[in-house]
């Protein structure tokens, strides 16, 4: 289904941020399993509120990663008779994280070089 076809679904805006968000989620979950809000909170805290996480994008990304086999999801009780959906990295999630980190480092180094050269 291409985006031009009459029958295409309305797809959410995709840009660099989504790729970054995936990386941040994977990194966050590599430390410990968390639920959606926990992930958001951790990203905001660690980034010192540079990143504000949009819940819709986050939950969508989680669903996509889970379907892609990078994350496992399970419902766990949270004490007050509620339950939350906890996400953890799978083996291929870990592998992906390593690849993405590698990639990220290479690219950010390249961007940094470019920026300093221009200055």
């Amino acid at each position: 289904m291409s985006g031009d076809s009459l029958f295409a679904m309305p797809t959410p805006k995709t840009d660099l941020i989504q790729g970054t968000l995936d990386l941040l989620i994977l990194k966050t979950l590599s430390l410990q399993p968390l639920h959606g809000f926990g992930i958001a909170r951790r990203i905001e805290q660690v980034s010192r509120d540079v990143f504000k996480v949009n819940p819709g994008s986050l939950l969508t990304a989680l669903q996509r990663l889970e379907r892609g086999g990078l994350l496992d999801a399970e419902w766990r009780g949270t004490g007050n008779s509620r339950r939350a959906r906890y996400y953890s990295l799978t083996r291929s999630g870990r592998k992906r994280l390593e690849d993405e980190l590698e990639d990220w480092k290479r690219r950010s180094a390249a961007v940094a070089r470019l920026l300093s050269a221009e200055a």
Binding site: M9, P12, H35, F37, P55, G56, G69
Partner: protein, 884 residues
């Protein structure tokens, strides 16, 4: 896509509620945690919740965002559109029924016709490299193709280099006796390599080899699978057994597979090796024109070069192969692809039916387009509303398209049903001799054709109104001007309905011309009186009939007992029957014109009869006397000829006393004297002039035929006497097969069979087209009345009488119809070219036909506008004015 992705998506698709619940729960939990976080920072519970809501967004839209991210969402939307479309269709049942059945008729009829035409005209014959198979035919003295002789076959096979192989076949109709009721079988005697030409191999046992074709070898036969199953309990069981044919034992050496499509003789069930050889004695059977030749062109040889080679051979006779004058090969042979010669006779009718069904499909499509246009107009507000609420144009288009595809699928599905019925109908109505009837079925190819057609019609027809509707909706928004100013849209629909009427009339003209032809044809006098006459073929099988005397004695005794049956008034035997497909002709010599070489002056058909034949058929005597009991073997040879033959011999003068010699007598036989002249009798069909015919006493011919038709005139209903007549014949000899029981009236109507078939098919299509055009007219008129309710209300309020209102509505209908009729007359005249060859007794400009179909069309138009006119009269001015 990984397995996991697939299963999750499928789960989302099939358990939407559970998936929804999970997403909702997750979103709710997120909101709770956010609220809790704010609480922890010291906010009030209310403030914390508000802050969390602001941060997270509306739970519903978050849910929607998450939900719509999966690919299954696209399917969901489509399903929703389908459900919505179905609901809309159910809510307007009249529209839905009309559109679906119109589509079903169009698609179904064309699929049925395609199913019939595909194996006959399009599909290659089911043989390896079938394109290289050809038939070879001789030319008769009038320049028409006819079967060849065995002598010609021998010469061509030996001298020609153009063929990989050639085979000859001859009709063979042995009587099967010994087990069960005596039965006459359809079969062929075939030369070496006949089965091999078609790449056919017996399913059990073996085929014929060279030795089987030598004189004096044991008698052997190969059976068809059908016959083996039908009479002998299966293919394996019968091989190696002896069966009784014509009183002789024949060894069954093989059985052909059920799939062997023997296109040259589809009804053949048994084969024997051809054993005779042509010699210099031209009086034998092997020099008669009754052998069908089929060959396979050698690798690089074209049809043209093969024809040239045979012509060259024909013009260079050699001593080794003597030729009689009637098979002198001077014109070469007609070589045609096997497929062409098999399908030749059916082509004109099939082309006419294809043309008719194409017209019908166009009419059906136009009708559906018209319906969708009208509906698009009604739904204008709905689209405008949806777009005002934020639906994109693409979204609206997508939904409209989904609806028309749903409509097409419904129509196509029902259409397949119609197609199946149509195929059954075509088969039931198919005239005898329609080639490859066995291969006609609702084929996969036809199914694909129907599916493709359905999709194309649905999308094309759906797209046009959809584009128009959405464009207008976008442009005009929710203005309601369109209901008062129908202008362009209704003009489009008027043009479409005019086209529909024109096309329907085009079909009606052809149907009318055919109807008149069949009417004219069946009113042609056949030359005999068919009322009350029943006929049946009696076969003298077995050794008890070896002598001519035994045969004659049987005929005489059989006639005696049949005449004694109550209700029988006259009875006679004849070697062949008019209009039955029997053809038995011979060249002749005229003593008064010795300069004419035997056989070159044409041929005459031989009827070997018993004296009662003329009375049973009521063939009138014009001069001289009829044959009678005194014309028996030993007496001077007497012959009665028909008027046409008499005119050919002596013009207007009396032919009595002329002396002729026929076929086997030619050269040095005894002369026969013309003792009487009788009226002409149509022989080939009612549409073909009576050929020259001579009648001899069955005891005065060179042989006594062992197959003869018993012709019985009865005083009551002839069919009820059949059992008594059969019993009478069997009381003389219980072993004779009796077959082809048919009234003379039955032969007459069968002889118009091919025209009748075309007439039937085209009439059904034309009547359907007429109905569709009527529905189209109704739709346009009704729509126009609905759109003009206000105007009609005003006119009524201003004092227009009901008659004036009706007149206004009907005038519109008649105007549209008349415009359509003008187009249709031109179209009908042009289209009748296709059926020109099938017309009889009427020209393509037959005024009665045109007047008739125009009246029918106008009547349909009036009928179609009747209901809308009544509705217009019923318009209450107050309601009409208030409604806006």
């Amino acid at each position: 896509m990984s397995f996991r992705q697939l299963t999750r998506a499928l789960r989302a698709l099939f358990t939407p509620r559970r998936t929804d619940a999970e997403v909702s729960e997750e979103v709710a939990h997120y909101l709770e945690e956010a609220t809790a976080a704010h609480l922890a920072q010291g906010m009030t519970p209310d403030g914390a919740r508000r802050a969390a809501l602001i941060e997270v967004g509306r739970p519903a839209s978050v849910r929607e965002e998450v939900r719509s991210s999966g690919w299954e969402h696209g399917i969901e939307v489509t399903l929703r559109d389908v459900r919505y479309g179905l609901r809309r269709l159910v809510r307007s049942p009249v529209f839905t029924l009309t559109a679906v059945s119109t589509l079903a008729i169009g698609v179904g009829a064309s699929t049925a016709v395609f199913s019939a035409v595909h194996p006959i005209l399009l599909e290659p014959l089911p043989f390896p490299d079938a394109g290289r198979l050809v038939t070879l035919q001789d030319w008769n003295f009038e320049g028409y193709p006819m079967p060849s002789t065995l002598g010609t076959f021998d010469e061509v096979r030996t001298r020609s280099r153009s063929f990989e192989a050639i085979a000859a076949t001859d009709q063979w109709r042995p009587s099967l006796t010994g087990t069960g009721a005596p039965e006459r079988l359809e079969g062929q005697r075939i030369s070496v390599g006949y089965f091999g030409l078609f790449g056919a191999i017996p399913i059990a046992g073996r085929g014929f080899v060279e030795e089987d074709h030598r004189l004096g070898e044991p008698r052997v036969v190969v059976l068809s699978y059908r016959l083996a199953e039908r009479r002998f309990g299966g293919a394996r069981e019968v091989v190696g057994r002896d069966i009784d044919l014509n009183g002789d034992p024949y060894l069954v050496i093989g059985v052909m597979p059920p799939g062997f499509d023997n296109v040259l003789a589809p009804s053949a069930e048994i084969w024997a090796p051809l054993r005779e050889q042509a010699s210099g004695d031209f009086s034998g059977r092997e020099w008669g024109h009754h052998y069908d030749l089929v060959g396979r062109l050698a690798g690089s040889v074209s049809l043209e070069s093969a024809s040239r080679e045979i012509l060259a051979i024909g013009q260079a006779p050699v001593a080794e192969f003597p030729r009689p004058s009637w098979a002198n090969l001077s014109q070469g042979l007609l070589i045609r692809p096997l497929q062409a010669s098999v399908t030749q006779s059916a082509k004109p009718a099939l082309y006419a039916i294809i043309a008719a069904v194409t017209l019908l499909l166009v009419i059906a499509s136009v009708n559906v387009a018209n319906l969708l246009l009208a509906r698009g107009a009604q739904r204008h507000e709905e689209f405008a509303m949806r777009m005002a609420l934020g639906a994109s144009r693409r979204r609206v288009l997508r939904q409209l398209l989904t609806e028309s595809v749903v409509l097409s699928i419904l129509g196509g599905g029902l259409g397949l049903l119609v197609a199946q019925l149509g195929v059954l109908g075509l088969l039931a109505a198919s005239p005898p001799g329609l080639p490859r009837v066995g291969a006609i079925r609702l084929s996969l190819a036809a199914f694909g054709f129907a599916a493709g057609l359905t999709a194309a019609v649905g999308i094309l027809v759906g797209l046009v109104p959809a584009l128009g509707a959405s464009r207008r909706a976008a442009r005009e928004g929710m203005h309601r001007s369109s209901t008062r100013n129908p202008g362009r849209r209704s003009r489009t629909r008027s043009v479409l309905v005019i086209a529909e009427v024109g096309l329907a009339l085009t079909l009606l003209v052809s149907a009318g011309l055919l109807l008149r032809s069949v009417d004219r044809l069946t009113s042609v006098a056949p030359g005999f009186d068919p009322a009350g006459v029943i006929t049946m073929q009696v076969v003298e099988a077995g050794h008890e009939f070896n002598s001519d005397a035994a045969r004659l004695q049987f005929y005489e005794q059989a006639l005696e007992t049949v005449r004694a049956v109550p209700g029988v008034t006259e009875a006679g035997f004849t070697s062949q029957l008019p209009l039955s497909g029997d053809v038995d002709g011979y060249g002749y010599e005229d003593q008064a014109h010795p300069e004419v070489r035997p056989g070159e002056d044409g041929a005459a058909l031989r009827y070997a009869v018993t004296p009662g034949y003329f009375a049973a058929m009521r063939i009138p005597l014009l001069a001289g006397r009829l044959l009678d009991g005194s014309d028996r073997s030993g007496a001077p040879l007497a012959v009665v000829i028909n008027q046409g033959f008499s005119e050919r011999l002596v013009g207007k003068k009396s032919a009595l006393g002329q002396r002729l010699r026929f076929g086997p007598q030619m050269g040095n036989g005894q002369w026969m004297e013309v003792v009487g002249v009788v009226g002409d009798v149509k022989h080939y069909s009612l549409g073909v002039d009576a050929p020259a015919v001579f009648y001899t006493a069955n005891s005065q011919w060179a042989w006594v035929d062992n197959v003869a038709s018993l012709v019985v005139r009865t005083s009551g209903s002839p069919v009820t006497l059949v059992p008594a007549i059969k019993a009478a014949v069997w009381s003389v000899n219980p072993n004779v097969p009796i077959q082809r029981v048919q009234t003379m009236n039955g032969f007459i109507s069968a002889s118009a069979g091919s025209r009748r078939f075309t007439l039937l098919a085209i009439s059904v299509l034309a009547i359907t087209a007429l109905l569709l055009a009527g529905v189209g007219l109704y739709g346009v008129i009704a729509g126009s009345v609905a759109e003009r309710v206000r105007e009609i209300g005003v006119r009524t309020a201003l004092g227009a009488t009901p008659l004036a209102v009706v007149g206004q509505v009907m005038r519109q209908a008649v105007t549209l119809t008349l415009l359509g009729i003008v187009i249709g007359i031109g179209g009908g005249f042009a289209a009748s070219r296709v059926i020109a060859k099938m017309l009889f007794g009427v020209t393509r400009m037959d005024p009665l036909t045109y007047i008739g179909v125009i009246l029918v069309m106008v009547a349909i138009a009036l009928l179609a506008s009747w209901a809308p006119a009544r509705r217009a009269v019923g318009v209450d001015p107050l309601t009409a004015l208030r409604s806006e």
